[in-house]
């Protein structure tokens, strides 16, 4: 499968390991990535709080680049980027006036023909066709992940078709079962970690994360798995603070879905940056004999 690829700013900075994993792991399961030429920031959630036009214009330039890329589908691993691009594509479908105004400035015009995929939608066909199962060389036995979707994979500020259950998504569970893991049912999979509140309203965010951690621990999960770089960074970097503030005595590594697929298909965790987490993410893999 040949897909256009939009990494977004996080994947070139604090979540560089996610970019690295996408580029190594996805080709290993038959998905080749072609990075969009000269993509720009999507504006994330901040642009829509500051300036309505900016919030549409920033993703729109990327949509134009994607439409000119020659690829029918575009995968966007970051949940915030995915949500913004999907929403703006939908808005521009009905707002021809704004579309024309934007296209008037763009060298690569927005046509709206590129299908936008989350990382789970990109991996989905490989999973359902049985191809993923064939690539697995190391079953993730003993891994009991709490799959954490956060907000932006299933909830959108504008009516777009949601490819998974809104309240109880299963995209990650489906993949992890194929890898031999035992994903658990739990109640906080789509609850909010606070996102930017971790920076600008830390106490609130720590409280939200404590609820997420307590439920995952009560269900006897031994790790989190996520697809969102913001969720991953928050649950990982602030975990010690959450534990101290709310009397939680267990640590939980927070994996990206890509690193677990990588381990299962035989890539080295060290090469995937698993050692660059805040909460030790190598220890559990060693304990389960998934890494020597």
């Amino acid at each position: 499968m040949e897909l256009a690829y939009y990494p977004g700013c996080s994947l070139r900075a604090s979540s560089e390991i996610y970019d690295l994993q996408c580029k190594r792991v996805l080709p290993a399961i038959g998905i080749n990535l072609h990075e969009l030429d000269d993509w720009n920031c999507c504006g994330a959630t901040s642009a829509s709080k500051m300036d309505d036009f900016l919030a549409i214009a920033m993703p729109a330039r990327n949509l134009g680049i994607a439409d000119a890329s020659g690829y029918a589908e575009l995968v966007i691993p970051c949940s915030a980027c995915y949500s913004r691009m999907l929403v703006v594509q939908k808005v521009l479908e009905s707002e021809k006036g704004i579309l024309n105004e934007i296209n008037g400035e763009l060298s690569k015009k927005v046509i709206g023909k590129t299908r936008i995929l989350s990382i789970l939608e990109a991996i989905g066909p490989v999973a359902s066709s049985g191809e993923l199962a064939k690539s697995v060389v190391r079953k993730l036995e003993g891994l009991k992940p709490a799959c954490y979707y956060g907000c932006m994979l299933t909830r959108f500020p504008y009516g777009v078709p949601v490819p998974d259950s809104v309240e109880n998504p299963q995209g990650m569970e489906t993949i992890l079962k194929i890898l031999g893991a035992t994903p658990l049912d739990w109640s906080y999979k789509t609850d909010c970690c606070g996102a930017s509140a971790a920076v600008n309203d830390n106490e609130t965010s720590i409280k939200l994360m404590s609820k997420i951690m307590k439920d995952a621990i009560a269900r006897e999960a031994n790790c989190f798995v996520t697809t969102c770089p913001m969720c991953q960074l928050n649950l990982d970097a602030y975990q010690e603070k959450v534990k101290a503030a709310y009397g939680i005595d267990r640590s939980m590594p927070v994996y990206f879905i890509t690193e677990l697929i990588g381990v299962a298909v035989g890539l080295s965790p060290a090469d995937l940056g698993v050692g660059r987490h805040f909460v030790d993410a190598m220890a559990l893999l060693r304990e389960l004999n998934l890494y020597e």
Binding site: K49, D52, V91, E101, C151, R155, G159
Partner: protein, 209 residues
Amino acid sequence: MTTVLEFRPDQASSLAAEVMARSGQNLNACYQCRRCASGCPVGEETGYVTPDRLIRMIVLGKKEAALDNPLVWKCVSCLTCGTRCPNDIMTARIVDTLKKMAKDAHVPPLSPKVAAFHSSFVAAAKRLGRLNELEFMGRYEWKNTLQALTKFKFHEAFEEHKSQAGLGLAMLRKGRMHFRIQKIRGKQEFRRLIKRGGEQLAKSPASQE
């Protein structure tokens, strides 16, 4: 804080009309079932100003309260309220609209840090076309420091820097912070585009996202 709401017919229709136009949300559809309130993750932090209360404030014309209440600044944009609303009212978009209306009306933000966060993000992203986390956080901390110092809150400024420096060092050690600058080549096109400012958008308010 429970706000006693009174009907202000002189303000009601104009306030509701403006919020509805700018947010694209039909506030009149709200029948106060409070499904939004029960799912709101920050409902406990907002002095019980939940999405349903906020809508009520607007419908009753309480402009000051609508522009200046904890929900507008505590909302984490999780979109749970709007996703569960039986009448498809996306309150998070109302909250975003109220933030912008508060700014237009020069109402000082209840949480200056939240306002500083978003304006720093947008300023940094607009400058080079991509977001550089160090530039963004630098702008943000600079605003916070100024804010604290002008109010003589020296200890607060110190604590903020201490905790951010701690996180920064940890990120550096884990190879999760970078000093290289990312920027786009098509900066001119990008700047022309964002300067347009949306003439069409102003003409079709219902489209606003």
